[in-house]
């Protein structure tokens, strides 16, 4: 059965106990957590989260460090300032070390931003590859896959071909790619072409929508799947192409999150019941 998750931060303010029940009722079999949720929790707290989720047969599909950490503000794997980068890698290591408690084996990261000055693109590339190698090796010790995802506003590595290049150059058995449909659309790429570009490296899929209209600002809005520029047919086409890849709906809304989650799941027609 395909792992079908939804992002935890859609349900702000809902306790994990309640959330587990809601997700199970809707038909999800996994949930994606933020890196902060793991980082800030004790061993006991994480065990209790796992127990709550497990009671409803909900797994943790992945830990998302992309939503938790913004380059410069929290850190970046591309940072030219060496001690800052090492500090950030240590934070990610800390998360990797804890992930086994919740039986999760995927950590999503993104390339950072090239420094404003004094860092060439090549240098930023090499630094990112070096960080990924390091994380890949560290992940292998804990059986955690490092999934690299393109971010539309964390240039310059925002295209699928960049992610593929980074993964291939890192050349680590535990470093793979993740793809977010909204990010791909914001980068101006076609979903299927992007998935083909990532090919065998693509181990995880984020589903989100965006609104791309002339005269409207481009924003990484993570709109519900039914509310944006990417059509139902495009989502369906991608899902039929990637039958086995674990996926997570990664959306936010100001409206009722439960209704949103239900409608998104309905749309991808992948309820486990």
């Amino acid at each position: 059965m395909r792992s079908t998750a939804i992002n935890r931060w859609l349900f702000t303010g809902v306790s994990i106990e309640r959330l587990a029940g809601i997700l199970s009722d809707i038909g999800f079999n996994s949930v994606e957590l933020t890196a902060w949720e793991v980082l800030n929790k004790s061993h006991e707290d994480l065990e209790s989260i796992w127990a709550c989720l497990h009671a409803h047969e909900i797994e943790v599909s992945a830990i998302n460090a992309v939503v938790s950490f913004v380059p410069y503000i929290h850190g970046s794997i591309t940072d030219k300032i060496s001690w800052r980068r090492k500090e950030f890698l240590r934070v990610l290591e800390n998360i990797i070390e804890k992930m086994h408690i919740i039986d999760c084996h995927r950590l999503i990261v993104s390339p950072g931003r090239q420094a404003e000055n004094y860092q060439t693109r090549d240098e930023a590339w090499r630094t990112t590859v070096e960080s990924l190698r390091h994380l890949g090796k560290y992940g292998s010790r804990y059986n955690v896959e490092i999934l690299v995802e393109a971010m539309p506003f964390r240039g310059p590595f925002k295209y699928s071909r960049d992610i593929r290049g980074l993964v291939e150059e890192a050349d680590q058995p535990y470093v793979y790619a993740s793809m977010d449909t909204g990010h791909v659309a914001l980068a101006g790429e076609d979903l299927k072409v992007a998935a083909e570009t990532l090919g065998k490296h693509l181990h995880y899929l984020h589903l989100s929508n965006v609104k791309i209209e002339l005269g409207r600002p481009l924003l990484d809005e993570h709109r519900p799947l039914y509310d944006g520029t990417i059509s139902i047919e495009e989502f369906a086409g991608l899902l039929s192409m990637l039958k086995d890849a674990p996926l997570a709906i990664n959306v936010v809304t100001l409206n009722d999150p439960i209704i949103c989650a239900k409608r998104c799941l309905q749309l991808i027609g992948n309820s486990r019941r």
Partner: protein
């Protein structure tokens, strides 16, 4: 006899602000500044790097991409001579702003000691996220605690702080959109914004001054509690008047002084001005026709002073000639020293003007524009990034209707402000002020005693009259303040205050009738909120008699206006093609200010002025003084034609007047005839033949 307007005529002094004693990081006070408005002394010292064999080489900026100096030794050279030249021989001013890398110089302490000995002020700048400190230029650096301590020990409060400079623009242009997902609410966007600046300020010892490039965020920096001064880099970057409504407002709301730093750069005009060069610089960024024109620089200097800036810093470079020298007596000997350039002369003339007119009053801004604390508003287009997507708030949320209202309000009071930095002819940087330059922006969390210093308040944007904010407004009106508010901003019951009740329904409308004139106006389609009048006068209706604008007069003297139209704007207008942001082209708004709102709101604002300026559109600023019959009037002609007009003091004759640019007296009378040359500024000292204001006293 008509009561004189009660006016707040005291300058902001952080030292007597009730919150001062509780502040961990003390704002700069007038006492620190020795009660003077300060100007710039110099911006850089000569530095050399010392190679492994002790060989000295010129210190040059490293290439932008790749490479760094590594761990070179740096030394500041000839700094005493530079200080002699700038602070004594030419006496440009007393504020030194230096790049942070000075702290790495092996004779750093010696330099600081010399600055201390001469009683000069020091600012340190150059923080740029992600850039390595080893490049010894713009960098993400952390000043070591012992360096920070030494600066405080030797300079005390004359160390003005580490610069939080241009970071608002940097955040909006490069960081705001990196958050994933983009914020859904303004509160969330504010939290994101704050994370960036907490990180930045913590690197800088939480002892900073703000030099903004997008100062509509000024209040947030003041609110952080670690900023000592608030200011902006002005020049080619935006409309100065609109920016200073925010900067002054934040300064007053939080009890922090403000300043301006005038830059020579203007992207639209291809770089920076250097009038000394005969032709454009080969690198294409500096030249006699690039950057901000010298006529504009002059107006910016004098307006900054009349905007009550405590420091008016000017120009990145170019005060002294690299080509011409003059012979001057230095230490009893004749020496050749660099001659003044046009920029140097301009600054010295301005400094001399400040010396001749130390009491240039307090800018009169009787109207508070109130925005919600989390507004995050920025003008529809700006420098960050230049030609970037228009109509964004917080750098990562699209404008909503309330944001368009703020924009359209500013388009009326500073016509063409949205063109600033987008036209080669510099339009929009300074504009005429048809209703007077009389506004400050306050945020909804302002203390009551601050709001009560104003005579009127206009509530703008997504700001809702409820809870504590409504109570503050209620007390403000009870104390004699006037109010303009839009029906969609009403939440809690305010019938006693406004004399109307919301019926909770809306309808579409396409016209209005001005009651007094019985004049029907065709309007674009708009949404009106239905209201019931329970104790107010109706100033405008639909043709079916439904109220569109009401006014309730209070016994305190205050008046409360309510506009039933949603934000006073039309519904969203359809355009045949998307709105694009391009230089030398106007930026249309997808909304239109309704004509009846225009007809009733703006004349109402104008009546709060103390003077009447009659003639073609011009920018005018009024300043009040402790003498109730003495006013100052700044007339700034931002047009290519000379301005001829009349100036009158409301309710009095001009007993005598002096033109402060020439120090020559002018003929008094019922009015003054004034001429202002194209692109020039005139400041008049006016004495009325009777008192024209009363001083406001607020506990």
């Amino acid at each position: 006899m008509k009561k004189l307007p009660s006016v707040w005529n005291k300058r902001v002094d952080p030292a007597i602000d009730p919150r001062f004693s509780k502040r961990e990081v003390k704002p700069v006070t007038w006492k620190d500044l020795e009660n003077q408005v300060h100007t710039l002394c110099l911006r850089r010292f000569e530095m050399v790097k010392i190679g492994p064999k002790g060989r000295m080489e010129d210190f040059r900026r490293p290439p932008r991409y790749g490479g760094s100096y590594g761990r070179e030794r740096l030394r500041v050279v000839r700094f005493k001579e530079a200080l002699d030249l700038h602070s004594e021989l030419y006496d440009f001013g007393r504020v030194i702003t230096l790049k942070w890398n000075i702290i790495l110089a092996e004779n750093f302490k010696e330099v600081v000691d010399e600055i201390a000995r001469r009683n000069l002020y020091l600012c340190l700048h150059g923080y740029v996220p992600t850039c390595i400190p080893e490049a010894l230029w713009h960098a993400e650096f952390q000043p070591p605690p012992e360096v920070h301590r030494y600066l405080l020990e030797r300079l005390g409060s004359r160390f003005l702080g580490w610069e939080n400079g241009e970071q608002d623009g940097r955040y909006v242009a490069a960081y705001a959109k990196m958050y994933c997902p983009a914020p859904l609410t303004r509160r969330q966007a504010y939290d994101y914004f704050l994370k960036y600046f907490r990180r930045l300020c913590s690197d800088l010892q939480d002892y900073v001054y703000y030099e903004g490039a997008l100062p509509t965020f000024t209040h947030y920096f003041a609110d952080m509690g670690n900023h000592r001064l608030l200011g902006a880099e002005i020049g080619g970057r935006g409309n100065m008047s609109m920016w200073f409504t925010f900067i002054r407002g934040a300064g007053k709301q939080y009890g922090i002084l403000w300043f301006s730093d005038i830059s020579l750069w203007n992207i639209c005009r291809g770089g920076a001005l250097n009038p000394e060069l005969e032709e454009e610089h080969p690198d294409g960024k500096v030249g006699p026709t690039r950057g901000v024109s010298i006529q504009l620089l002059k107006r910016l200097l004098y307006i900054a002073a009349m905007y009550d800036c405590c420091m008016v810093l000017s120009f990145e470079f170019g005060h002294l000639s690299c080509k011409r020298t003059v012979t001057r007596l230095v230490d009893g000997k004749l020496r050749k020293v660099p001659d003044l350039t046009a920029l140097g002369k301009l600054q010295l003339e301005f400094k001399d003007w400040l010396r001749r007119h130390p009491d240039h009053g307090v800018m009169y801004t009787p109207i508070a524009l109130i925005l919600d604390f989390y507004h995050g508003w920025a003008p529809p287009r700006h420098y960050y990034p230049w030609r970037g997507e228009p109509y964004l708030i917080w750098g990562n949320m699209p404008y909503r209707k309330g944001d368009h209202q703020i924009d359209l309000f500013f388009r009326e009071v500073f016509p063409g402000y949205e063109n600033a930095s987008f036209y080669h002819d510099e339009r929009g940087i300074l504009t005429s002020t048809p209703y007077g330059d009389i506004f400050d922006v306050l945020l909804s969390n302002m203390p009551e005693f601050i709001l009560n210093r104003y005579n009127a308040a206009v509530v703008l944007g997504e700001t809702y009259m409820e809870g504590e904010f409504l109570e503050k407004i209620r007390k403000f009106v009870e104390a004699g303040g006037s109010l303009a508010v839009f029906a969609n901003q009403l939440r809690d019951d305010a019938e006693d205050l406004l004399g109307i009740r919301l019926l909770g329904s809306t309808k579409k409308c396409d016209h209005s009738v001005l009651s007094q004139e019985n004049l029907m106006i065709y309007e674009p389609t708009f949404t009106m909120h239905e209201i019931e009048v329970t104790g107010a006068e109706v100033l405008a209706t639909t043709r079916h008699g439904e109220p569109l604008v009401t006014s309730k007069r209070h016994s305190s003297g205050g008046e409360a206006l309510v506009f039933a139209a949603d934000y006073g704007l039309s519904d969203h207008l359809d355009f045949h093609s998307p709105i694009v942001n391009e230089p030398d082209r106007p930026l249309p708004s997808p909304y239109q200010l309704l004509r009846h709102v225009y007809a009733l709101l703006f004349p109402w604002l104008r009546k709060f002025n103390l003077v009447e300026v009659i003639g073609p559109p011009i920018q005018y600023i009024t300043s009040v003084t402790e003498d109730p019959s003495r006013l100052l009037l700044t007339l700034c002609n931002n047009d290519a034609q000379p301005w001829f007009g009349n100036v009158k003091i409301k309710g009095a004759n001009v007993a005598r007047a002096v033109n402060w640019m020439t120090d020559k007296p002018l003929q008094g009378g019922s009015h003054l005839n004034v001429k202002v040359a194209p692109y020039d500024v005139v400041i008049l000292e006016l004495y009325a033949d009777r008192p024209v204001i009363r001083s406001k006293e607020i506990c």
